[in-house]
């Protein structure tokens, strides 16, 4: 069964779906941002899982190289690190923007904000 052997990948895709739909359909800005983070974490889980092979260790060489098959590729972990940095900065920006929106509109509900700005100057 593909789903059982690829349990982590399948979980990652389900999480991506949850995050994506939350980002798309939630009205509350904070919940949207949480959805964004779930979505990004799902991709990180996927990358980490594909980068890990049972029985192999990190490519840290102390007593000389044993043989190439004893190590995993370090690149997926590096990608995840970079991705986390990007996700953090986007989240910070989005939260700062939400604060500003709350100051100007007094709500974090996107539907209400859209209504208010249309009712105002449009």
């Amino acid at each position: 069964m593909g789903l059982i052997t690829n349990f982590y990948e399948a979980t990652a895709m389900v999480l991506f779906g949850i995050g994506f739909v939350t980002l798309l359909l939630q009205k509350n800005l904070i919940k949207k941002i949480i959805g964004l983070n779930i979505m990004d974490s799902a991709i990180f889980l996927y990358l980490t899982t594909t980068g890990y092979i049972t029985g192999r260790s990190a490519p840290i060489v102390i007593d000389g190289v044993v043989y190439a098959g004893a190590y995993v590729n370090p690149l997926p972990s590096a990608l995840v690190m970079t991705g986390i940095v990007v996700a953090v900065s986007i989240t910070a920006f989005a939260l700062a923007l939400s604060l500003k929106l709350y100051e100007h509109y007094g709500t974090l509900d996107m539907d209400k904000i859209a209504l208010m700005s249309r009712g105002g100057k449009g």
Partner: protein, 504 residues
Amino acid sequence: MGGVAFHFPLFIIFLPMLASIVMPLLRSSNIARNITLAVQVVMIGLSLGLTVSLWVSPAPYFTYLMGYFPAPFGNEIRAGMLEALLACAFSTVLLFSILGTAQDTDKDISESKRPLFYCMINLLNTSLMALVFTNDIFTAYVFIEVNTLAACAIVAAKENRDTLKATIKYLLLSVMGSGMFLLSTAFLYSITGHLLMEPAREVITALVADGQYQFPLTMTILLFIVSMAVKSALFPFHTWLPDAHGSATTASSAILSGLVIKGYIVMLLKLLYRVYGIETVAELGVFHVLFLLGITGMIAGSVMACFQTKLKRLIAYSSVAQIGYIFVGMGLDTQGGFTAASYHIIAHAFTKSMLFIAAGALISAAGSYTISDMTGTARKNKMAGIAFTVGALSMVGIPLFAGFVSKFYLAGAAVQGHISIWITMPVLAISTFINGLYYFPVLVRIYSKPEYEGDAVPALPVGKLKPSFAANFTLVCLIAANVALGIFFAPLLGALESGFLWLG
């Protein structure tokens, strides 16, 4: 390819990055602006130098190893004719967009925030240039995110209710696109094991020849297309664009409409050409998706523009239609179509930035955003009136202006195509007609004599009626560029075509 020009792409990417680091330390906004302008001038020089050295050198392109690790490892920059010309056009448009809108920027953004505004513009410039030159998919992802953040920041810079709402809408849709891009990159990496474009293409070509991974590969291309379409505001995903471009300060509108959305299209072009290869994309049938999206965009953008009552939103919806033209050019799957698309990227960058700068000047002359208050504004600010006229004529596709050339070659490419001519030609005609339908009433209005002189109360404080020398100079240069692109197009088209020849 030897000599100092070999290092130019690296300088082009790092120079604005260094400038953006310096900006927050500056106290005076004038110094910040002057440094930004100086950086732009140097970058135009560098990219011109790169173009000329590629023109004279026997090698049509070169790859630059970052850190000197050979091909399957390490990170690479690739520079060919197409990349050099795009870098040249983008830095020129950016220079004029900053220079021509200085008055509006000073009015809309407070003195203490202006150095940060220029910091964001420099970051945006870095990410654009990195998207143009990079040869690595993950580097592209990182710079796509940098571009998103910087673009959102320059919309929010003019801080009021409308821009904040527009920014959050833009940011949320953009991160959705970025998420899809990252997911697709992760899939592609686990299928091919490469992030560099050329090694990835070798693996993909071999897999498709064996008939393996057809479905996952098609899904990754579609994810890439949708994510780039969201960010470049192609029709069904355009909802953020009119708000963001219509409410931001003039400099931001010009830069966003002229450059930012183009950066993502260039990235998509590179993904199709360099990661998948044109033959593979054609085999998987993805070009039909691009073509259909483009055709709907052409009509829908134009139709929605007809119903706008505010000048900047009208120009923004016109951008949605023009992006449709570019995607149709890509979706035709002919050499001519790709060349026309890339020519339209450049032509639209010059025209749309000019339209926004002129519209900004007309808005401050009228003291209102609404088109019905614009009566006679071109008489008050003559240069802005002429620039708006030239821009509108170019967008409609009147000969002698830039927009005509790309439409002409798009039609020519459709003739070479297989079945699409019976769809492309009527849609081009209808879209051109609708373009005229919404641009010409505005032209008539800005030139007609105001009926109630000084009777209406302007909604905004009427700014300095006398436009600065820099603004007029910018508009003259952009008009000249537009006419030059419309008349002496042959060498540029030839160079773009040779760039595409070596892109794959």
